[in-house]
Each structure stands twice: as structure tokens, then as C-alpha cells.
Symmetry: C2
Subunit: 418 residues, 2 copies
């Protein structure tokens, strides 16, 4: 590529561009810079279709705003003759965002730069929290640790998003119903704003997970995606086209409260679990496996010797992966139960893709195949099912996505970039 002249030589008038046009031009230039290496102004002109003088003006504005930095010529490795071209790059370090996944046992905090690159993660323990004050304190500590690990000052955080179980009054950010967490019915966004001096958004955790799966995972091209967070709890996030389907009361996807058996209700138990969560959640997986192992007698796998609380779904998945007959039988039983809750989701939404995430995403092929087999007779159309590869990071990564969108709205001199 020939070197471009360092200064504007074109006669195209650009000074008089109206504000909206300037914003759109800025957004185009930033979109071209983000994800690319250092670019010359001529490269930018070619990639954006803008005139060279317009690009120069936009770059100067972005430079003044701290979003673009000059790169020393030669640092891009190219050999040029004559006067070196001005090279610029996106300053993804101009600000940072924080994504928080609030769970019963841990808070997973992710710090990312404006390019979405993860700078630090921190897992804080929340299992000791017995009140919303305790849980908030644990969250603040976890966030402080994450920022410390990232070496980022609180003032450099441009946007925060947090995912929580339960129903969230969107966009106010108040938790209005969350039987899963003790006392967790608070003005969460307002509380978190006391720790951060920037916009804070709060969203249902499964809704964030489906955003992460769209951005990083298996759902990049699917139109209607259901992400099922399946661990101790069960909840779903629904993405239709590019819109989260939140529902009239932000209660869409609350399948953990499906009362499948006649006579049961959606009423949570003392632990805050809905009927479907009691039927297929991590605790039920361990219980069913213990029962199956006992029934089979003979060679008992290690997981049934453990104390009830110590037998985990993970141990069952590992035993099933080793071919342990009781564990495999247990996963088939759980698959059959799960399919009874999955089938209505499929009949109502007919999604392109269902992704199973959270701890059960590590269950492996045995469970997935058993679900495919048991749900098929319960639906009209064979669904596409997959296990998420985002492990337990889907919610925190989705929170980063939501926080980034807000940061872009605030920081960039134009409309939000997709």
C-alpha cells in the first residue's frame, strides 16, 4: 500500500459537516480502528469511504477525547520510503468496564477494556452472606479485588453491569423477586452506584448469559436462542433477533418455576428453589445418582460414599464420563425430567438453538444425548441443542457486553457501535 501524504491535500470540504454527520463519521472511523492494528489515515479513508480530510478531522477529535493514540511509524513492521504516514490506533485502555455475576456461592467479577479484552477476573466468596447487606459487602470486596488485580483505578471504570438471579425491574435495576438469595429484594443498581461513579446496569443473569453466547459462543448466527442456566438453579434467557425478550414484567424465561406435575405449584421451597429446580437442579442430580448407585449395589462408585452435601453433580458427571453405570443411569433419569420442562420451551418458541450453560454445561455428551433422545417424542420439530463452552463465565461475560454497550454510548462521540 503506498504511503499517504501526512497532511490533507484534497479539496473536499468537511468543516461544515453537521453534528449528526460528524457523529456518524466518528463511529465509522472507530469501528474501523477497533479490532484492527494501527492504521494510516489513508487506510482509514479507504475502509470507511470517507474523504481523507474528513478522516483527519475525525481522528483529531477522537485524539483530543483520548480514544485514539498516535503510533510511532515503523511500529507496524512495514517498510516505507519517503515521509512516514501518520499511524493511529484505538485506545482500548481509555476506559474500562466491569461485569459482575452475582451467585449464591460466588461473585465472578470481570474487568475488561473498551475492546472487550479481559484485563482481570476475580472470584469472591458469597456463600457466607445471609442478608442483602452481607451480599453487597461481599460484592464490593470482590469488585475491589478485581480492580486491584487489574491495576485499574475506580475512576477509570466507565460502566458496570451486574447479573443477578430473580426478576429485575429493567431498566431501574431493582431486584423485585429473588427467592434464590436471602433478603435479595433491593435497589441493586442504586446500591452498586455507591461503589462506582459511573452508570450501573442490573439484569437477570440468564439474560446476560444469552448475550455472551451471542457474542463469544455458539449463538453467533442463530435468530432465536434460548440459553438455559442450569446448575443449582434453572433459568432461561431468550434472545430473538438482536433483542433480549424480557417479557412484560421482566419475567420471561423463569422456567425454574415450571410446576410440571399435577398438584404442584410454582411456590419456591425454603431454599428458594422452584419446582423444576427441585426436579433437575444440581442437588437433584446428586440425589438421583446416589439412589441409582444404592439400587445397583455391587461396586459402589466413590460418590455415594460421601456425605450427602459433599456429593456433587460434578462428581456424577465425572463418574458418567468414566462409564459408571449408576451415574449414566442417573443422567438419563435427569434428562427425562429436564425434557419435560424443555419441551414446552420448544413448543412455544421453536428456537434455532438451545444452549445449556452453567455447571451442567460440563456434564458432557452422555447428558446431552440423553436429553436429545428423551425430548424428541415430546416435540414436533427436532431442536438444536448444545452445551455452552463458556463454562461458568457466561453471566460475567454477558455483563461485560452490557457494560460495554453503555460505555460506548457515553464515551464515543457518535451513536453506539454494534
Amino acid at each position: 500500500m503506498p504511503a499517504a501524504p501526512g497532511g490533507g491535500g484534497s479539496a473536499t470540504p468537511a468543516h461544515g459537516a453537521p453534528p449528526l454527520l460528524r457523529q456518524i463519521n466518528s463511529a465509522h472511523v472507530l469501528a474501523a480502528l477497533r479490532g484492527a492494528g494501527p492504521l494510516s489515515l489513508s487506510d482509514l479513508a479507504a475502509r470507511t469511504g470517507l474523504s481523507r480530510p474528513t478522516v483527519g478531522q475525525v481522528v483529531d477529535q477522537l485524539h483530543a477525547g483520548g480514544l485514539v493514540a498516535d503510533v510511532e511509524p515503523g511500529h507496524d513492521g512495514a517498510v516505507r520510503s519517503g515521509r512516514p504516514a501518520r499511524l493511529v490506533r484505538f485506545r482500548s485502555e481509555a476506559a474500562y468496564v466491569v461485569g459482575i455475576d452475582i451467585g449464591r456461592n460466588q461473585a465472578l467479577v470481570t474487568v475488561a477494556d473498551l475492546a472487550g479484552t479481559i484485563v482481570a477476573q476475580h472470584r469472591g466468596v458469597t456463600s457466607g452472606a445471609s442478608s442483602s447487606a452481607d451480599l453487597l459487602a461481599a460484592l464490593r470486596t470482590a469488585a475491589t479485588s478485581a480492580l486491584g488485580r487489574a491495576g485499574i483505578r475506580r475512576a477509570d471504570v466507565a460502566s458496570v453491569a451486574a447479573g443477578t438471579p430473580g426478576l429485575v425491574d429493567w431498566p431501574r435495576g431493582a431486584v423485585v423477586l429473588a427467592p434464590q438469595l436471602p433478603g435479595w429484594k433491593i435497589e441493586l443498581a442504586r446500591e452498586l452506584r455507591r461503589s462506582f461513579r459511573c452508570p450501573v446496569q442490573v439484569e437477570n443473569d440468564a439474560n446476560l448469559a444469552v448475550l455472551a453466547e451471542r457474542r463469544h459462543g455458539l449463538a453467533r448466527d442463530a435468530h432465536t436462542v434460548v440459553f438455559i442456566l442450569w446448575g443449582e438453579r434453572v433459568g432461561a434467557g431468550v434472545l430473538i433477533g438482536d433483542q433480549l425478550h424480557r417479557g412484560a414484567a421482566n419475567a420471561a424465561g423463569e422456567i425454574g418455576f415450571l410446576a410440571l406435575d399435577e398438584g404442584t405449584t410454582a411456590q419456591p421451597d425454603e431454599a428458594g428453589r422452584g419446582p423444576f429446580e427441585r426436579l433437575v437442579g444440581a442437588e437433584a442430580i446428586a440425589e438421583v445418582a446416589r439412589a441409582a448407585a444404592r439400587r445397583r449395589g455391587g461396586a459402589l462408585p466413590s460418590f455415594i460414599d460421601a456425605a450427602p452435601g459433599a456429593v456433587t453433580a460434578e462428581a456424577v458427571f465425572a463418574a458418567a464420563a468414566r462409564g459408571d453405570a449408576a451415574a449414566v443411569e442417573a443422567l438419563r433419569t435427569i434428562a427425562a425430567r429436564f425434557s419435560r420442562g424443555l419441551a414446552p420451551v420448544l413448543l412455544v418458541l421453536d428456537p434455532d438453538l438451545v444452549v445449556i450453560g452453567a455447571s451442567v454445561s460440563r456434564a458432557g455428551a452422555t447428558l446431552l444425548e440423553a436429553i436429545e433422545a428423551s425430548v424428541a417424542p415430546l416435540t414436533l420439530v427436532r431442536p438444536r441443542l448444545a452445551l455452552s463452552r463458556l463454562g461458568d463465565e457466561a453471566v460475567t461475560l454477558g455483563a461485560v457486553e452490557l457494560a460495554l454497550a453503555e460505555a460506548e454510548r457515553r464515551l464515543l462521540p457518535g451513536p453506539a457501535l454494534a
Copy 2:
């Protein structure tokens, strides 16, 4: 209002308007004319914000295309002095659309003009049809009768839409699965195009019903609407924002195939009914009422004396409205069963509004209140439920809506009008 000069006197240049702008201007003028009485060109200029000469040009174009007619001055009842203004009106009779509801027992055909005003309706009998050829012949006969009753030539039909039970390959218009109708797995749009020389669209019936409820009914302002067609069959149409949610395989909303009880499957029975249809469909309503009446003994309401096939859900609704205890008990039983299928819909979608349509829309307050009471313990959020007031016309009226949208795309010189 002062009379406007009959000819253009303004200096505003309008001749050079580019095609897109001309289209937009045409659409604005037509939108102002549709639904209004005769308007003068000055009225149109005031209502559209266009200049008087531009309006004159657009009206001339529309006049040439047959979409606008002149109205004799004085016919609007106003008294004017001086030279009378040119008055024009939308020629809603410029073309017609046909909407068809294809059912197991009848075909309901509606002919409407371009304003959506119904010109004629005809109910054809389809219950004798034992093959797709029979059913198609019955449809053609019904459509011919409707056009005859409307006094409309086939050549004046600009667009046709038909609603059918089952899964429809959209936009191809082929029925790919319809256990409810014998042999009904055909290239329906292509077949109907042999009867009409215009675009023919085919859509799932419940999807059309929800469109009608948006346009004419209770769902005008709701964001997420579920319309449940509930008669012998049960199916749902889902509207999210202004988009039909069809699903990946056009199978969204097929709740008639919900297999709620452990051990049941989505497999249709010999009559093509899914498990939820067998549980709550019109036949089940009659059965449950007969059983309730027999159990109560004593004064037997008239409906249990009839032969099994002659006892209808309508008779049960009428008996319940009279306060018959057995009929009321039966509707409560049906409501409890229905709620078990409705609850998953609510937990997955959290709609703003659920409208119950088709024959059960005539069940009255007893059933609706019983559903509200029995579904509440099964969900997290109290839903808004209503009985459709469109009776059995929801599907045919929705078909008219779909046909009108297509007619506008074809006939109007601009983008489709909302």
C-alpha cells in the same frame, strides 16, 4: 376552511423529486386519504406537510393509477363561495383482497376492499372433505361464492391470504405438517394460485388470529401477545412487538402438542389431535361436563341426554351461563387442565396479554375466572387474560390483514403503508 385554488400557483419546484422521495410523498398522501372523507388538495398539503404543487403532482399520479378519484364539489356537504376546490378520495374499491380461514368443518372466506372494509363473507362446508383434493375443491367453491356475493370479478382480487392449521413453510406457503386435516400436506399456496391470478400467502391460522387481534381487537397496545385458538384444536400465535414470532421451523406456538403428563408424548391420535388438545379441546369439554352431570345425578341438564357427538362445548357454556352446577364444575376442571398448559407459556414468554379465541372465546366469565384462579399458583407474575371478541372470525380477518399488506406493496406507488 378557505377554498384552495384549483390549480398549482406556488413556485415550489417539485418536478425533479427523485423516485424514492416521490414514493414517500405518495405514501404520505395515501395515508392521509385512507380513512378520511374527501379532502381538498389544500387539506392534503396541510395534513402531509407537503407543498401544494407536490400534492397536486402526487394526486395526478395516483389518479392515473386508479387509486384516487375526484369527488364532485358539494358532495362533502360543505358550503363554499367562489371557485370550488378539487376534492379527492381514496378509491378503496380499486382492488380487493381475499382472506380464507381453512378449518376441518368450515372455510370462512372474507372479501375486503383496499381500506380493509368487509364487502362479503361466505362460510363453506369442509367437513365432508376426506382428502386434500376434496378440501381444495371446497375452498375454491367457497371462494367463488364469496366473490359472487361481493359482486367482484376474480381479476379484481389483488392479493389472497389463507390460514391453515399445522406447520407452514413460510414464505413458500406449503403445509408441511397438519395432523388435524386428512392428507393436508400440500403446496397450498401454489394450489391456490391456480384459482387466483395474484399473490397468495399461506400462514398458520393462529398466527393470523394474533394479527387480527392486534388490528381489530384487544391487543392494539400490547407488546407481547399470545393468541390461543381454542376449539377442537389448540394452537397459539405469538406477536412480539410488531413481528410474528414464527420460530426456526415455523413451529412456534404449537401448544396443542404439549405432553403434560409423564409418559405421554406429542404424538397425535387418529383424529390428529395432540395431547393437550385431547385434554382441553371442545370434545374434552363436552366429555367432562357429561361426566360431571352424571356424577351429580338428580336434575340432569339437557346436554347430558343428547348422544355423545351431539353434546357440544357450546351447550356446556350455555348451561354454565344459566348456573348449571355440573357445567360450572366441568369448566373449572377444564380451566385447571388448561392452566397447566398455559403456565409454561407464561413462564417462557411473560406476555403482556393472552387472548383466548375461537369457539371457547364464547365460554364467558365462568371459564375465564376459573383459569385466572387456577393459573395464578403456577406462575410468578399474574397474567392479563381476555376472551377474544372476534368470535370465529379472527383467522379470516387476520388473513385479510396479511393480504392487504401484500396488496399495498404491489399496488401503491410507494413503500407499504402501515
